[in-house]
C-alpha cells in the first residue's frame, strides 16, 4: 500500500513543487544572466540581490485584472494556457533524477515511474503542448494573433519531426525506449552518448531551442511588436502561465538532453575506478548540475545571438535538420549492424 500509493504520491508532490519553484526562479535566473552578459546587474532591489523578485512578480500577476476579450470563446480562452502548461509538467513523470537508492530502510527509485516507452511518452506529450499555442491565437478572436499562433505552432511541429527522428538514433544506441535504460546503457557502453552521437546532440539542442520558442528562433514571440503574437489578448496570471510553460519546457528539454546524452545522474567517467570518489556527490545533484549547465546555455544563447527570420527558421528545420537527422540515423544503423 505504502509502496504502491504513498511513495509515488510523495514523489509527485516533491517533483511538482520543485518544478514550479524552479520555473518561477528561472525568470530571475534569466534576467540576472542576461543582465550580467550586458554589463548590468539585473533585479537588485527586491530582497538581497533581487532574490525575492519572482515572488513580487507572482503577486503582481495574480492581483492583475482578468480581462477576457468580449467575443472570445470563453472556454477555449481559459483552457489554452492550461493546455500549454500541463504537458510541460506531466513529462516529469518519466524523467529519472537518479537510480534506485536506499532511503530510510526501503529502496526508493529517484524517478516517479519508469515506463517502457518513456521517450515516446515525452515526445507525444510535447506534441500535445502545441494545442495551447494554437488555441490561444484562435481564442483571441482576431486575425493577426491567429496567424502568429499558426506560425508558431508550425515552427514547433517542424522541429518536432527533426528531434523525433534524431531520438531514434539515440534509441538505437541504447536499445530501449525507457529513460532509465538509456542512462544505464551509457554506463554499460562506457561512453556518454554525446561522444557517440555528436550530430544527434547538436540537432536535439537546436531543435529544443526551436521547440521552446527561444532565441534565435523566437520570431513568433518577438513579432508581437508588429502583428501581435499569439498571447496578445492575455493578461495577468494567464499570460504568466504561458511564459511559465515556456520555461518549464526549457527545463524539460534540458533534462531530456542531460538524460539522453550526458548520462543523467552518473558522474563523469562513471566506469573509471580511480574517479569513484565522484560518486560521493549524490546522483540527483549531478543531474541538477548538468541540467543547470544547459539552462545557462539556453539563456546565454538568447543574450548573444540575433534572431532568424521565419522563413529562414523553417528552412533550417526542414532542409537542414531533417536530412541531417536521417543521415545520422542511417549511419548509426549501419555502424550498429556492422559492430554486432
Amino acid at each position: 500500500m505504502i509502496d504502491e500509493l504513498l511513495i509515488p504520491l510523495l514523489k509527485i508532490v516533491i517533483v511538482l513543487n520543485a518544478t514550479l519553484v524552479a520555473v518561477t526562479y528561472m525568470v530571475l535566473l534569466e534576467r540576472k544572466v542576461i543582465a550580467w552578459a550586458q554589463s548590468r546587474l539585473g533585479p537588485m532591489r527586491v530582497g538581497p540581490y533581487g532574490v525575492l523578485q519572482p515572488i513580487a512578480d507572482a503577486i503582481k500577476l495574480m492581483i492583475k485584472e482578468d480581462i477576457t476579450p468580449v467575443r472570445a470563446d470563453r472556454w477555449v480562452f481559459t483552457a489554452a494556457p492550461i493546455i500549454s502548461m500541463v504537458p510541460a509538467l506531466i513529462v516529469y513523470a518519466v524523467i529519472p533524477f537518479g537510480p534506485t537508492i536506499h532511503l530510510f530502510g526501503r529502496s526508493v527509485s529517484l524517478y516517479i515511474t519508469d515506463i517502457n516507452v518513456g521517450l515516446l511518452y515525452i515526445v507525444s506529450v510535447a506534441s500535445v503542448g502545441v494545442y495551447g499555442i494554437i488555441l490561444a491565437g484562435y481564442a483571441s478572436n482576431s486575425k493577426y494573433p491567429l496567424l502568429a499562433s499558426l506560425r508558431a505552432s508550425a515552427q514547433l511541429i517542424s522541429y518536432e519531426v527533426a528531434v523525433t527522428l534524431t531520438l531514434v538514433s539515440v534509441i538505437l544506441m541504447a536499445g530501449s525506449l525507457s529513460m532509465v535504460e538509456i542512462v544505464n546503457a551509457q554506463y554499460n557502453q562506457h561512453v556518454w552518448f554525446v561522444f557517440a552521437q555528436p550530430m544527434a546532440f547538436v540537432i536535439v539542442l537546436i531543435g529544443g531551442l526551436a521547440e521552446t520558442n527561444r532565441a534565435p528562433f523566437d520570431l513568433p514571440e518577438a513579432e508581437q511588436e508588429l502583428t501581435g503574437g499569439f498571447h496578445t489578448e492575455y493578461s495577468g496570471m494567464r499570460f504568466a502561465l504561458f511564459f511559465l510553460a515556456e520555461y518549464a519546457n526549457m527545463i524539460v528539454v534540458s533534462s531530456v538532453v542531460v538524460t539522453l546524452f550526458f548520462a543523467g545522474w552518473l558522474p563523469p567517467f562513471p566506469n573509471t575506478p580511480a574517479l569513484h570518489v565522484l560518486y560521493y556527490v549524490p546522483s540527483w545533484a549531478w543531474f541538477l548540475i548538468k541540467s543547470f549547465v544547459f539552462l545557462y546555455l539556453f539563456i546565454w544563447i538568447r543574450a548573444t545571438l540575433p534572431r532568424y527570420r521565419y522563413d529562414q527558421l523553417m528552412n533550417i528545420g526542414w532542409k537542414v535538420l531533417i536530412p541531417l537527422a536521417i543521415v545520422n540515423l542511417v549511419i548509426t544503423g549501419i555502424v550498429k549492424v556492422a559492430l554486432i
Binding site: D73, V76, I115, V117, S127, V128, Y131, Y138, S153
Partner: protein, 172 residues
C-alpha cells in the same frame, strides 16, 4: 475489477465525446472534442497493455493529424462569421438511415465471426518472436509479417505529401 470499471468509464467518455463531436455547433469545439476522444482511446490502449500504441496514438493522431484539422478549420472559419455555423441543410433522416445501415452491417459481421471463429489468421504465438516487450514485438511484426503493407503505406503517405505540396505551391 478495477480494470472493468476503468474500461467502462473510459468507454463512456469516448462515446460521450464522440456524440459531442457531431452535435456541437462550433467547428473548433468539435475538433477539440475529437482530440479528447483520441486521448481517451490512448488510455484504452494503455489498459490493454499496448503502451507503444498508446504513445503513438497521442503522438500521431492527437498531436499531428488533428493539429492539421485544426489549422484548416481555423483558416476556413475566418471566412464566415460564427453565426453561420449551424447548418440549415442537415439531412438528419438520411444520417439516421445511414447510421442504421452501418449498425446492421457491423452486427452481421460480429454474428458471422461469432458463428465461425477465424482460425486462419491466428496471431503468431508470442514464443515465435525472438523479442519481448511491447515496442519490440510491434517492430518485429511490422518488419517481417507485415513488411509489404508497411512499405505500401509509407509510399502512399509520400505520394500524398508530394501531391499536397504540388497543389499548394504557387510557383515551384
Amino acid at each position: 475489477m478495477a480494470q472493468a470499471i476503468a474500461f467502462y468509464v473510459i468507454a463512456a467518455c469516448i462515446l460521450g465525446f464522440g456524440v459531442l463531436v457531431i452535435s456541437t455547433k462550433d467547428t473548433v469545439h468539435s475538433v477539440l472534442f475529437l482530440v479528447l476522444d483520441f486521448l481517451f482511446v490512448a488510455a484504452l490502449y494503455v489498459l490493454l497493455g499496448a503502451q507503444f500504441l498508446a504513445a503513438i496514438q497521442v503522438l500521431v493522431y492527437a498531436g499531428g493529424i488533428v493539429v492539421l484539422y485544426l489549422f484548416v478549420v481555423m483558416l476556413v472559419n475566418l471566412k464566415r462569421p460564427p453565426e453561420a455555423h449551424s447548418d440549415p441543410h442537415r439531412r438528419t433522416k438520411l444520417g439516421f438511415g445511414l447510421a442504421a445501415a452501418v449498425l446492421v452491417e457491423l452486427g452481421a459481421i460480429a454474428a458471422y465471426g461469432y458463428a465461425r471463429p477465424a482460425t486462419a489468421f491466428a496471431m503468431p504465438a508470442a514464443a515465435a518472436m525472438p523479442v519481448s516487450g511491447n515496442t519490440e514485438q510491434v517492430g518485429w511484426l511490422l518488419y517481417t509479417s507485415y513488411l509489404i503493407p508497411f512499405e505500401i503505406a509509407s509510399m502512399l503517405l509520400l505520394v500524398a505529401m508530394i501531391g499536397a505540396i504540388v497543389l499548394a505551391k504557387r510557383e515551384l
